[in-house]
Amino acid sequence: MRLPVLWAAFGLMMAAPLSASAAEGVTSSFPAPGKESGRLKIIGAMDTTAILPLINGFQAENPGVSVEYSDYVTNDLYEEADAACRRGESIADVLVSSSVDHLVRLANDGCARPHRSALTDPVPDWMQWRNEVYGFTHEPAVLIYHSDFVDPEDVPRSHADLADLLRRKPTVFFRRIGTYDLRASGIGYLLAYLDSQLAPTIYGRLVESMSRVEAGLYCCNSEVLREVEAGRLFIGYNILGSYAYAAQRRNPKLRISVMRDYTHILSRGAMLPKYAGSGDLGGRFLDYLLSPQGKATAEKEGISFPWEDPQVSGITLPPSPLGSGVGRPIRIGPSLLVTQDKLGRDRFIADWTAIMVDSRSLQAGPVWSNYE
């Protein structure tokens, strides 16, 4: 009954991803507060509302710059940037994506322009590569739950807990857990791939458990959060901490659980494409992101995860984030290229699809997804 519609929607999504969600693929313009002297074009995989404080902060320091922001899904952002790079065209002055592996791949393919300044020098090695890709936040991939529906003793504190919970109470959580659709979300794929590398057994159990309860699959953080907020989902898995925190502030019933076994810490990346138009405007925006003001704004506005708040942050960053703590920072560097291997990626997603999607369609129930 709904199945054909769904598949049609899938096809549509692959062909014209921009139409998949009303919130994504939208271009917004922010005119210069002062007399316009330059135009900065940003393409990002961030909600427009999320990046708005940073754009405002940048414009406060550079009143002559008008900003144009286009919001893409991470995968589309990569495709577009890669295609533009091959054609030698300018696509934007800055690319911002939480899917840093895409940016690393672009830099590896020679599609990035190095940028160095007094502000880029203190960036630690693991948060930058070749002075081309810079991480400007670090935030954990967390679990968010709705406290009305998840009993306190049931709150998962580790990945194994989550798998167990789904097994113990399959009826409670049937279609009540949401996570990324790896086919659409680059960040979803990255986190799932890293899960599979870090803890293959638990990853297998988790995927299997989620498949059994027919987890909802979404393109983006905001979709999952919207559903959890609405109470249609009880648990959202692998949500970026900043989004989760923002959602929690909007709705106190939402709670964040930071996994105690391991938690990926992701840096949103920014990069200057090789072919960019307006001089050094991109570099100035990058500098702003790395500047203390930019960081403070990001923290204040919930773009970066508030590590200092013990209420939400069950873990603290070890003094050296690369140390073997709970937090596992995702190092920005060539090792991320493996996630971009087409063969491996196709296989991984195919395997995942086989478990999460196909096995379901073979069973009685319909595939349950947001692309309806």
């Binding site: 590896n108 020679g110 070749r130 590398q197 290229l337 493996v338 063969l343 296989r347």
Partner: protein, 463 residues
């Protein structure tokens, strides 16, 4: 032979510097070469390791070749943190399985069947180092050769090469500087004997023509031998010359005596008054000539004795008194008060009686001829541990600026007065031969001018 010639030192230093620079350049080139090959080896191992890991990840699933690239392979390549990575997996059909399909499309992969092949290539406008490894698959559905190509940009290699070369350069520069410093020191040290020889020659008394005795290094001996040989010949010539002068003086003396006698025998009455004047002039000149001849002879005698006669214990008071008697003629101008004074009855010195007497006679004669107006005093005494003969006259004396001149041979302060100037010269020769010297005491308003002959006292412990 006035030709600008650089110093031995600068010649040596220049050549050593040239050789060192050449050597340093050679070593730096070698260091660069080794640094490059070391860097290449290091990173080639990483590259090969990654490629082998990737080849190991090839597997056959459902009759199809597939691969799950290990993250560790990329982490290994990530040890060159700034370098970009390109790879390509080729299946048994020669088709690209995954990776960069246009990577090194032109090469012959089959060469990698024997062993991994490394080559330098360019990809997307950047120089890369590329390795090809092979893997043989022999599953029934799928058999043949699969290849893995891994390329990496060369930033880390260049950096390592530069680092190694840079450090080697530092070491080479340091060693060269040390070697140069050591060479300079060594050259200076080995040139020291030359300086010593030069100083020895310049310090030498001009009269001393005896062979140089210097502990010179072997290389300098021919040079030293030449100098000594030359001095020997010079000495022979000087002796010959002295003998010739003595002979000449001796030969002149006889006709001169005859000439004096002839002048004395002239009947002055038969000579016109004008002729008388001429005769008087001839007599004066003849006397001067006699004295000069005498002095020449005595000079030759003194020099001869200085080199042949051994010094013995003699009484200076006695000698001075004899000289005083000899030098003061009986016909001395009665207006002049002459005196002889000895501080002690006897004063033993090491000397040659004849030479010393000759010297003192000459000094007293000089004072009489050129100095004394109304006073001539000879005094023998001890001053500052040395024997001293002091001849004082009330004449005008010799101004201090001329003291160095008058002790030279044939030098006089009064060129027009017919003096020969040999007197001081003889005294100086004698004083030098006795290890002493001739000194002067300046004329002051309340003090008369004195000439001093100073020689060492007799030392009993002398051999």
């Amino acid at each position: 032979m006035i030709r600008h010639e650089t110093s031995l030192f600068s010649r040596l230093a220049l050549r050593v510097t040239l050789i060192l620079s050449f050597g340093a350049a050679l070593m730096i080139s070698a260091a660069w070469y080794y640094g490059r090959s070391a860097a290449n080896q290091t990173f080639d191992h990483l590259l090969l390791g990654a490629a082998l890991q990737m080849a190991g990840s090839l597997s056959i699933e459902d009759g199809k070749l597939t691969a799950s690239l290990p993250q560790s392979a990329f982490e290994m390549l990530g040890l060159a943190p700034e370098d970009r990575i390109f790879y390509r997996l080729i299946d048994t059909e020669g088709q690209t399985l995954t990776g960069y399909g246009d990577l090194a499309g032109y090469i012959d992969y089959t060469a990698a069947r024997q062993k991994p092949v490394f080559l330098n290539d360019e990809y997307r406008g950047t120089p890369v180092r590329l390795v090809v490894v092979s893997r043989v698959l022999s599953d029934p559905p799928l058999s043949g050769w699969a290849y893995v190509l891994v390329a990496q940009t060369t930033a880390a290699r260049s950096e390592l090469t530069q680092e190694i070369t840079g450090r080697a350069m530092l070491l080479v520069a340091l060693m060269s500087a040390l070697a140069l410093a050591a060479t300079i020191l060594a050259v200076r040290y080995s040139l020291q004997p030359i300086t010593a020889l030069g100083e020895m020659i310049s310090r030498r008394d001009p009269q001393d023509l005896t062979p140089l005795t210097l502990n010179a290094p072997k290389e300098l001996r021919p040079f030293l031998g030449s100098i000594n040989h030359f001095m020997e010949r010079l000495d022979q010539r000087v002796v010959l010359l002295q003998r010739f002068i003595a002979d000449a003086a001796h030969q002149i003396r006889t006709p001169l005596t005859a000439l004096s006698a002839q002048i004395d025998m002239l009947d002055e009455r038969e000579v016109s008054p004008a002729g008388l004047q001429s005769v008087e002039r001839i007599r004066t000149r003849t006397n001067e000539l006699s004295r000069l001849t005498g002095q020449l002879l005595s000079h030759a005698m003194v020099i001869h004795r200085a080199s042949t006669v051994n010094l013995e214990k003699v009484d200076l008071v006695l000698i001075a008194r004899q000289a005083y008697r000899t030098a003061i003629p009986i016909t001395v101008n009665p207006d002049i008060v002459v005196s002889f004074e000895a501080d002690q009855p006897q004063l033993w010195v090491a000397g040659d009686v004849v030479s010393l007497r000759e010297a003192i006679v000459n000094l007293i004669s000089n004072a009489l001829c050129h100095g004394s107006v109304a006073l001539l005093a000879v005094r023998v005494g001890v001053a500052e541990g040395r024997a001293q003969v002091e001849i004082t006259d009330d004449g005008p004396g010799i101004p201090p600026e001329k003291w160095p001149l008058v002790v030279k041979r044939f030098m006089t302060t009064k060129a027009s007065e017919g003096s020969t100037g040999l007197g001081f010269s003889i005294a100086v020769e004698v004083a030098t031969a006795h290890g002493g010297e001739i000194g002067f005491r300046e004329k002051l308003p309340d003090r008369c001018f004195s000439v001093l002959l100073t020689i060492p006292l007799w030392q009993e412990e002398r051999d």
